[in-house]
């Protein structure tokens, strides 16, 4: 039985996810999720970024539409942010998602 806090998706989203899983389509392309690439703990490339929610040298929170991506670490820098893509450099200690 699934936990209650994980059952936050709507029915439509679940259908889209199931279709993309069955058709082997990337979920970020179909369901509009952010595409996140991590290079070790030094660089994170986030595609689908819609804005900055929190900005500091130890925390950067980004709005990716359906989720809020929160990157924690130290000496964090936004190396570039354009065309919906943000490159964050620094020493990344954790990454968490919030609705």
């Amino acid at each position: 039985m699934r936990k209650k806090n994980c059952r936050t998706q709507g029915r439509g989203e679940r259908i889209i996810e199931a279709v993309s899983r069955n058709l082997d389509l990337p979920p970020d392309a179909v369901a509009g999720y952010a595409h996140i690439e991590l290079c070790g703990n030094r660089e994170a490339i986030i595609e689908g970024c819609q804005g900055v929610l929190e900005y500091g040298d130890s925390v950067i929170a980004l709005n990716t539409g359906k989720l809020t991506v929160r990157i924690c670490g130290c000496e964090l820098t936004i190396a570039s942010m354009q065309n919906g893509q943000a490159i964050i450099k620094g020493i990344i200690t954790s990454l968490d998602y919030r609705n």
């Binding site: 804005g51 900055v52 900005y55 500091g56 040298d57 964090l76 820098t77 936004i78 570039s80 354009q82």
Partner: protein
């Protein structure tokens, strides 16, 4: 990334700091107004970032909306550099002139090297090429390589092949020398073999012609050893070029004398002057001396001769003087002269016995008596008269 940095430098960008207010709102408004920020850092509530020139013009209203105070940290790039130095016209003209000179001079030949020569001096090759127009300072594109190669090869018969490689401002002349063909023995003229010196025959091997002496015979200079007249079976004679190997025991005497006083030129003083060679200019440095020995030093970098060099001209003043030699110096000089005289004669003979004495009265006289084994055969053309019957 390098290209991006280069483009940013060319178009110019501004580094700024912003503080107070809401940094998140500031970043989002920048994004909304299509102001591209990079190198965005936050330290102690102060954010620093870079923005292009156009973006910085639009950043003031955005900063006002987000309650931030923006301050320029530094301006980077070519437009700002040029604006900063726009009043210094001389610098700009100098930079333009420098670029123009570099562009023009880079099309010219400044270094000419010759490789592959052994017998033919490089100066000879360079002299011919200079006559043909391949010299320092000439435009590389104006050289007709194939025609120059053909003409240079015609003027230098000691070379069998040459090639000019022009790479940037350097011309490399690669040459191959001709191989001398061995001289063919002439069989046309009939000759005799006669004795070149007095001696006693030890070995006698005629290859062609008639043997006229026997082993053990004493011969005088000019005696016939191998005749060029051969008798045929029908008792007629025919003439041929006699050849053979005649080794005789000979006596040789070599003397070398050295007086204790010699006249010699003594260097009294040396005057030096220098000439700076740059491109095709020769710039004299100070007062120049006449009748001087010149030594040119050129600048080499990575095996390429650069058109920068220094010529040192040395004029040595000599004085005629008489030197009194010590006994050992006199003996040494006499011995040296003796060995110099004997070295050429003794190259092709074997010494059986030798007796060398030194007389040190009024200088030094070194004399040697040698008994040698040597080839005394000498070709002599035959005197033939045609008798009309």
């Amino acid at each position: 990334m390098l290209l991006l940095r280069f483009l940013r430098f060319v178009f110019g960008y501004v580094g700024f700091t912003a503080q107070g207010g809401f940094p998140e709102r500031f970043i989002n408004l920048c994004r909304h107004n299509k102001i591209i920020l990079w190198e965005l850092k936050s330290r102690n509530g102060v954010i620093s970032a870079c923005v292009d020139r156009e973006g910085y013009k639009k950043i003031r209203p955005v900063a006002r909306k987000s309650g931030m105070r923006v301050r320029i940290r530094r301006k980077y790039g070519l437009p700002f550099f040029l604006a900063r130095h726009s009043r210094r016209v001389g610098v700009l003209i100098g930079a333009c002139l420098c670029a123009a000179v570099l562009l023009i001079l880079s099309t010219r030949i400044w270094s000419i090297d010759v490789i592959g020569n052994v017998r033919v001096p490089a100066e000879t090759v360079l002299g011919v090429f200079e006559e043909l127009g391949v010299r320092r300072g000439v435009a590389g594109s104006r050289i007709n390589i194939s025609a120059t190669e053909i003409e240079a090869l015609r003027r230098l018969p000691e070379l069998s092949w040459l090639n000019i490689n022009i790479s940037g401002s350097a011309a490399l002349i690669e040459v191959r020398e001709t191989v001398k063909s061995p001289e063919l023995a002439e069989n046309g003229e009939p000759t005799d073999i006669v004795a070149a010196r007095d001696g006693q025959i030890v070995i006698l091997r005629p290859f062609n012609g008639t043997q006229e002496q026997k082993i053990g015979n004493p011969v005088l200079k000019g005696d016939l050893l191998i005749s060029g007249i051969e008798q045929n079976k029908d008792l007629t004679v025919s003439f041929c070029k006699a050849s053979g190997y005649v080794v005789a025991r000979t006596n040789r005497e070599i003397t070398a004398a050295q007086s204790a006083k010699i006249k010699a030129k003594k260097a009294v003083s040396q005057n030096k002057s220098y000439v700076l060679d740059f491109l095709f200019f020769s710039i004299p440095l100070g007062r120049q001396v006449e009748d001087a020995y010149s030594e040119k030093s050129e600048l080499y970098i990575n095996g390429v001769t650069l058109p920068v060099g220094l010529t040192e001209r040395t004029q040595t003043v000599y004085e005629e003087t008489e030197i009194n030699l010590t006994q050992s110096q006199t003996r040494l000089l006499a011995q040296l002269r003796f060995f110099k005289n004997s070295s050429e004669d003794f190259r092709y003979l074997q010494v059986e016995q030798s007796e060398i004495t030194a007389d040190e009265q009024s200088g030094c006289t070194v004399s040697g008596k040698f008994t040698c084994l040597e080839n005394i055969g000498l070709e002599r053309p035959m005197q033939i008269e045609e008798i009309n019957q």
